[in-house]
């Protein structure tokens, strides 16, 4: 599966068609109203968002998801002592519908307990890749039906958040292998987990080393440079790219600080406020994932990753059908 980014930029600012002369209108017609119509339609159909969190156990993935969406998406994250750590890599998916200001969002979170926990982690990315491809496959099958549904349910993974353990040195071989494979099939956002164990200087040094590692191994994480549409996007995404990977801390308990109730972690030497930009970069992650780039994540998944998968699939022929059919449960 080495056919990569030969696809052109997903959205150019004008549909490609013969150059047409611009026309002047002598008065308002009301074309702008179509924007409102779009909004109404969007509110009615609702949105879907599928996020996957990958990382070793104990890095705070479930807590992070709960903090991001400010709700108990995952029930109690701490494994109890009687339950043994999973010996196999399982993928758990949970779907919830969250509503804000009349807008419904169907959120699906896929967790990967057991990732990187075995002694021999060879090919531990296979189940993850298999799951992602299975979602593409499902969507493709739905799309190829003769009688299709009005709205094909979208279960494709829009974003994969990869948790890097805070060693302070550089990316480990497991991280590099995984990121390399995954960045071609899905939008990957790496984050430094449990960043409260690093000081600010250590954090910066770690970050620059990670960025260097990513560059050396040609790993393109989200936001990908090749999909910047115009100069504004490049500037905006450039700023984000400088700060990837974000150093985040997750917390779902509230504490009292200076009379305000904030989400944070309480330690003997102070309270780490999750939403304080001086303490950790959780806010940046949240803004990127939810407030500014959610639609973009979905668009790139649909226009680029899914199309790449489709091309490979339709070119492969029935040989691959047997493979994929074997894989599905």
């Amino acid at each position: 599966m080495d056919t990569l980014r030969q696809s052109p930029s997903p959205c150019s600012s004008r549909p490609s068609s013969p150059r047409t002369p611009p026309f002047e209108m002598f008065g308002p017609v009301g074309i702008e109203a179509v924007l409102d119509q779009l909004k109404i339609k969007a509110m009615k159909t609702g949105f879907e968002f599928n996020i996957m969190v990958v990382g070793q156990s104990g890095l705070g993935k479930s807590t992070m998801v709960n903090t991001l969406f400010k709700s108990k998406v995952w029930k109690s994250a701490m494994p109890s002592l009687e339950v043994p750590t999973p010996q196999t890599l399982e993928l758990h998916s949970v779907s919830h519908v969250i509503e804000e200001k009349g807008l419904k969002l169907k959120l699906t979170v896929t967790d990967t307990p057991g990732f990187g926990d075995q002694i021999n982690n060879d090919k531990c990315w296979d189940p993850v890749l298999g799951y992602i491809n299975q979602q593409y496959e499902q969507y493709l099958q739905e799309e190829l039906l003769i009688t299709r549904q009005r709205h094909i349910p979208d279960t494709r993974v829009h974003c994969c958040v990869y948790f890097v353990p805070p060693t302070g040195h550089c990316l480990r071989p497991l991280d590099i292998e995984f990121l390399r494979r995954l960045c071609r099939t899905v939008n990957v956002v790496p984050v430094i987990a449990r960043a409260d164990s690093l000081t600010i200087e250590e954090r910066e040094a770690f970050r620059s080393r990670i960025q260097q590692n990513l560059k050396t191994h040609c790993i393109e994480v989200y936001p990908q440079k090749c999909f910047d549409e115009d100069i504004n996007d490049s500037i905006l995404n450039g700023k984000i790219r400088e700060q990837i990977p974000f150093a985040v801390v997750g917390a779902d308990q509230e504490h009292l600080v200076n009379g305000r109730c904030v989400l944070g972690r309480k330690t003997k030497w102070g309270i780490i406020e999750v939403e304080n930009i001086a303490h950790c970069e959780f806010l940046l992650l949240r803004d990127l994932l939810i407030r500014s780039h959610l639609q973009d994540l979905k668009d790139i998944t649909h226009n680029v990753h899914y199309e790449n998968y489709r091309v490979i699939r339709l070119n492969e022929g029935s040989g691959a059908v047997a493979q994929v059919v074997e894989r599905s449960p």
Binding site: P21, I31, S93, S95, P127, Y131, S318, V321
Partner: protein
Amino acid sequence: MAAADIARQVGEGCRTVPLAGHVGFDSLPDQLVNKSVSQGFCFNILCVGETGLGKSTLMDTLFNTKFEGEPATHTQPGVQLRSNTYDLQESNVGLKLTIVSTVGFGDQINKEDSYKPIVEFIDAQFEAYLQEELKIRRVLHTYHDSRIHACLYFIAPTGHSLKSLDLVTMKKLDSKVNIIPIIAKSDAISKSELTKFKIKITSELVSNGVQIYQFPTDDESVAEINGTMNAHLPFAVIGSTEELKIGNKMMKARQYPWGTVQVENEAHCDFVKLREMLIRVNMEDLREQTHTRHYELYRRCKLEEMGFKDTDPDSKPFSLQETYEAKRNEFLGELQKKEEEMRQMFVQRVKEKEAELKEAEKELHEKFDRLKKLHQDEKKKLEDKKKSLDDEVNAFKQRKTAAELLQTQGSQAGGSQTLKRDKEKKNFF
């Protein structure tokens, strides 16, 4: 290697989880809208109606601009469609508007086939989109969508009922496109006649089973206005691009000796309603209906025609893929066969040419032999002649010597002078 288990837990069929604070995804519609604005919108209108009903004028009035084009004559031999695309921009929203207009509709003496070019045109647009969607490497998000989103059917203002041509055409079009019937040049009908006319038209449409586009009433924000508008169909419109001073404002109007008809006056005609419905309220719905209903229907019929079918529960799960495969193999097989044929033909031709060349060579050889023979014959003849000449010369020489001998013998007795003279004579010979 760790085995993989993929377990899916959809908690109680997806329950709603309460939020403990402001997450911020309510900006999603804005994100979506921004993306759409940067991409631009496209809208395609088809105007069907007889020549001279004011289609181009109405388009000009609707979009407040002057599109190019000269009016069509009445002498067209058949119905044709003329399509023009324009880029309109209002504040930050760009709209790619395509207006397709029928030319020569209703002008022929025999109008049986008038609807065919229109249906073919609409199908061609669907086909183009389907082809793009079925491609392996496709660029759907930048594809210029040329499918017709709305069809404005212009009804002539007779005041009685629909013409049979109108009924037939609308019946053929109703499953392919959203039809919005409008009464054109409605300043020719008085108000009372208009209500009767509208009722007659709607009852005829219903009794003939023609499905015109109903404005959607399922969303509360637009249900009310759409509901009232549905009752006003078909809209009676007047188009005009001339502006006249009425009161103290410039308005679009038509001036008659008996009064002035204002286009944007709701009491005079339904133009404002049409504009509201078509552009300001339902443009997105029209596009969606075209895509989800008409296009899907076309796609389904087309694919079934091509021999694809959906799976039954116990057959293999990818019959479309396999039919694709089978078709591709078939096609490759055909290609190979053709290649073989061509190769055979080529070999044959080469053989023929070779035979021809051989023939020519043989002929040349023969010719050469013939010439050679001729040559030899001639040579022989000449040699014979030479020989005979030589013989003659020899014979002559012999006679000469014999004659000389005789002379010398005879003239020895005579004088030597005569001999000398004879000798001189002979020497002279």
